[in-house]
Every structure is written in C-alpha cells, then in structure tokens.
Symmetry: C2
Subunit: 133 residues, 2 copies
C-alpha cells in the first residue's frame, strides 16, 4: 500500500469503508454499485453520452447498465425529438422510489459526518477541499 503517513492511512480506511457501505446499501435493494450510482444521477433526464462522461466510462458500458435498469422497470429510454440519434434516460416512478430507498439505506456518509460537531464538519470540508486542490 502507498500509505506511509497517518493521514494517508486514514484516507485509505475511509475510502474502503465508504465503498463497502455503498455496495451494501445497493445490495439491500438488489442493485449493483454501478446501477445505484447511475440511478442517482437521473434527477434530471440525461443522454447516454452525458452519463458516460459523468461516470468516466465507455458509452457501451452505459448501454449495458441502462438496459438492465430498464428491464427492472427503473428507467425509461426515449428518443430525443430534437436529435433522433440521441436517447434520454429518465427514472420511472418506481426508479424514484428505489432511489429514495437507496439514499435512506446508504447511511455511511451521514453517520460519519454526524459524529463531528458543526464546526468540525466545516473544518473537515475546508481541509478536504484544500487537499483536493
């Protein structure tokens, strides 16, 4: 591992725990992490290309995930009337419901931040913003 300093080691633990909690919350709703993540990006409907950019992966990958979510009845894929090559992905009412339940199930970030006082939360935010450059 590349974690020589204390701070680096704590960062590693944080990321590890965060990822596991995210996956566990998704699993409670029988979703993969990738499915839950994509579903969470659909507060506004979006094209496939935009989703690929946001999630940092190939468009063909997005197609696969969206096809599965569509089969589960959680999203729809409509032709964009202004550009008939494009497709707009949107959550169905059931997709909204599942997304809400995922947000409720993923307590890690809330719980973690909630252990700090408001002042400490501000400190943490400032430090991480500076660290992220």
């Amino acid at each position: 591992m590349a974690t020589s300093s204390e701070a680096e080691a704590v960062l590693f633990d944080l990321v590890d725990l965060y990822d596991r909690a995210y996956q566990a919350a998704a699993a409670e709703l029988s979703l993969s992490s990738a499915q839950a993540c994509l579903l969470g990006r659909l507060d506004e409907r979006r094209g496939m290309g935009a989703l690929a950019d946001e999630l940092g992966c190939d468009a063909s990958n997005i197609t696969q995930i969206v096809v599965r979510l569509e089969a589960l009845g959680l999203v729809t894929r409509e032709r964009d009337p202004r550009d008939r090559r494009a497709r707009l992905v949107a959550r169905t009412p059931r997709g909204d419901e599942i997304n809400r339940r995922f947000a409720a199930a993923f307590t890690f970030a809330r719980t973690t931040v909630g252990r700090l006082s408001p002042h400490e939360q501000d400190q943490l935010t400032a430090l991480l913003r500076k660290a992220l450059g």
Copy 2:
C-alpha cells in the same frame, strides 16, 4: 445521491477521485484494482482465507485473483507444511518489483495530503478518526 451536506459532498468527491486514481495506477502496470490491492497485502505471506477476510469477499473469489497473479508470475502458492489443506500466498521477486512500482504510481493520497501543512495533516487525521468512530 445521499450527499445533503457540504461535508458529505466532499467525501463523495474524495472517494470517487481516490478510486479512479487507484484504478489508473493499477492499469499502468496492467493490473486490475483487485489484483493491485491483493498484491499490496502480501508484505507477509498469507493464507487464502485470511486474504478473503481482509478484502471482504468470498474465498472462491480470492482463488480466481490469485490464480491470475500466479499466471503473471507475481505470486506463488505453497502448501502450508503445518496444515496441508491451507496454502500460503507470497509475492515473487517480480511481484515485489511490480508492487513497488504500483506504490510509486499511486500518487493520489500522497499528493492530496501533501497539499496540507503538517498541522493540517494532523487535524485531518484527527477529524477522520473521530468521524470513523
């Protein structure tokens, strides 16, 4: 997304960037994240079950990853003389070399923490430790 507060949103960004950087560093060495991660756990040789516990996944999964690392010449799998059911996984010299190069390539945590003063690094460590409970 379940990130209502500022602090939660920054945590999300941090985890996202960390994961991407980890994967990119592994890819530089033609490894998957899981392979790089497992390789990093072998400073001491370990049994398959111990690895499964540490990585939080099924033993059959570890078998797959180890078989691939073995095929790449990065680890060996020897019978434990004290319990012939068990197998001890260890890095080869080439595995050591690749692991060093991965640690050098994964600069994210170092760079990120390095943007903070020593005092700020201590603050961050203390805040995250408290937050993680």
